[in-house]
């Protein structure tokens, strides 16, 4: 199992909170390593979340929900 974390877009504020803007995959999808999983945003900065490994993805938060940088937002099994 590999954890997918909310990326650190604001280096100076490690604990900053952001928003999961768009999931490009659905819960339970089979994903390839490096595949684009999500777009996230902290303040007005947006960033990508790529799959760290291949496998079946479980989404732990929904679109428009907030998370802290570094928080686990999905798992790949």
């Amino acid at each position: 199992m590999t954890e997918v974390v909310f990326p650190r877009l604001l280096e100076k504020e490690p604990g900053a909170e952001g928003v999961l803007a768009t999931w490009f995959v659905s819960d339970g999808d089979q994903v390839a390593s490096g595949q684009l999983l999500a777009e996230v945003m902290v303040e007005k900065v947006s960033g990508e979340v790529l799959a760290p490994a291949a496998g079946r993805v479980s989404l732990l938060i929904g679109e428009d929900q907030t998370a802290r940088q570094g928080e686990v937002i999905a798992r790949v099994d």
């Binding site: 928003v19 803007a21 768009t22 490009f24 995959v25 994903v31 390839a32 595949q35 684009l36 777009e39 996230v40 945003m41 007005k44 947006s46 679109e63 428009d64």
Partner: protein
């Protein structure tokens, strides 16, 4: 929505069947694939590089292709559009971003007296294979100088093709077609279809996009929804609204609307419009551009000059009344072609 054009490619995304992209990412992917294929494809404009385009249409290109092919410019529209025209005349295929369509005022001489005329005045000996990309549309309180559509203005002036996609798959395919076209192509995207995190969520702005390069034909409309009671002819974000209204009215009132996504204004696919109107006998044109002297009047004229007998009821138009786009949210919603205005117009059309 564009299954007829992209179905051949849709199953081919090995390992990532049904891979979804936002419209912004789909445009950037189309440009990137053309840049890989052809060294002459370059990107020029304000904030197209490190920032990735203020609406994300050029995201990732600087990292992939470097500053020699992705040029961030100063605020100097006349100069960098002229640069693009010169590069195109010399055989390159530049994609030049004007940013907001509203900004055309400061650089219109380059656009309509040079980009759009060099191929004519040279008797076809000099080609201008250039894409002029710009963002359009309102709905987010950006007021009169950052919310206009203006695609009708570009379509009115001869010498330019004009394309206006509504969804991610068409956005990629039309960008590739625009880059490969030997004529100048104005490529207009509505900000509300881009799938941007800071805009209002729009479920139709994230959708499956084939991974390989493919072309969506310029000048070919698509029937986004098949129906029998009335034809709604529209484009861009208004396609999304029309489809939402069609779903709602089908469920609530048993009304079966046909929705045509024009996708291109120049050339205009008159045949698809006429064959639909011939079947339904009722026509509503929805346009987020200004009403008078624009696309909605042009559609009406083409139907009338072909066969006014096709219409069993007077046609209806939902467009922006001839006023600047207001800043105040309530006033802006009053002038935009909202789902509420479209639904009211359909009721009116069906009663007539």
């Amino acid at each position: 929505m564009s299954a007829t054009d992209t179905s051949a490619a849709a199953g081919a995304g090995a390992g990532q069947a049904g891979r979804k992209l936002t419209t912004a990412r789909a445009i950037a992917e189309g440009i990137a694939q053309e840049m890989e294929r052809d060294q002459g494809v370059v990107v020029i404009g304000e904030d197209v590089g490190a920032y990735g385009g203020i609406f994300g249409a050029t995201g990732g290109l600087l990292d992939q292709f470097g500053p020699e092919r992705v040029l961030d410019t100063p605020i100097s529209e006349t100069a960098f559009i002229g640069l693009g025209i010169g590069a195109a005349v010399e055989g390159m295929r530049p994609v030049v971003e004007l940013m907001f369509a509203d900004f055309f005022g400061v650089c219109m001489d380059q656009i309509y007296n040079h980009m759009a005329k060099i191929h004519y005045e040279s008797g076809g000996n000099v080609r201008v294979p250039m894409v002029l990309m710009m963002a359009a549309g309102g709905g987010y309180s950006d007021a009169e100088q950052h919310s206009q559509c203006l695609w009708g203005t570009f379509a009115h002036l001869p010498g330019m093709k004009v394309v206006v996609p509504s969804n991610p798959a068409d956005a990629k395919g039309l960008m590739i077609s625009a880059i490969r076209d030997d004529n100048p192509v104005v490529y207009v995207f509505h900000k509300g279809i881009m799938g941007l995190p800071w805009m209002a969520k729009n479920p139709r702005s994230v959708a499956p996009v084939p991974e390989e390069a493919y072309q969506t034909p310029i000048g070919k409309a698509t029937v986004a929804r098949v129906g029998t009671d009335a034809t709604v002819v529209t484009l861009s974000l208004s396609v999304h609204h029309a489809l939402d209204v069609a779903d709602k009215m089908a469920a609530e009132a048993g009304v079966d609307l046909e929705v045509i996504d024009l996708r291109s204004l120049v050339p205009l696919d008159t045949e698809t419009v006429l064959s639909s109107v011939a079947r339904t006998g009722r026509l509503l044109v929805v346009d987020e551009d200004y009403q008078s002297f624009g696309m909605s009047g042009e559609i009406a004229a083409r139907v009338a000059e072909t066969d006014p007998g096709l219409l069993r009821a007077p046609l209806r138009r939902v467009a922006v009344p001839d006023v600047p786009i207001p800043y105040a949210r309530s006033l802006e919603r009053a002038v935009l072609p909202t789902p509420e205005r479209i639904e009211a117009a359909v009721h009116d059309l069906l009663k007539a």
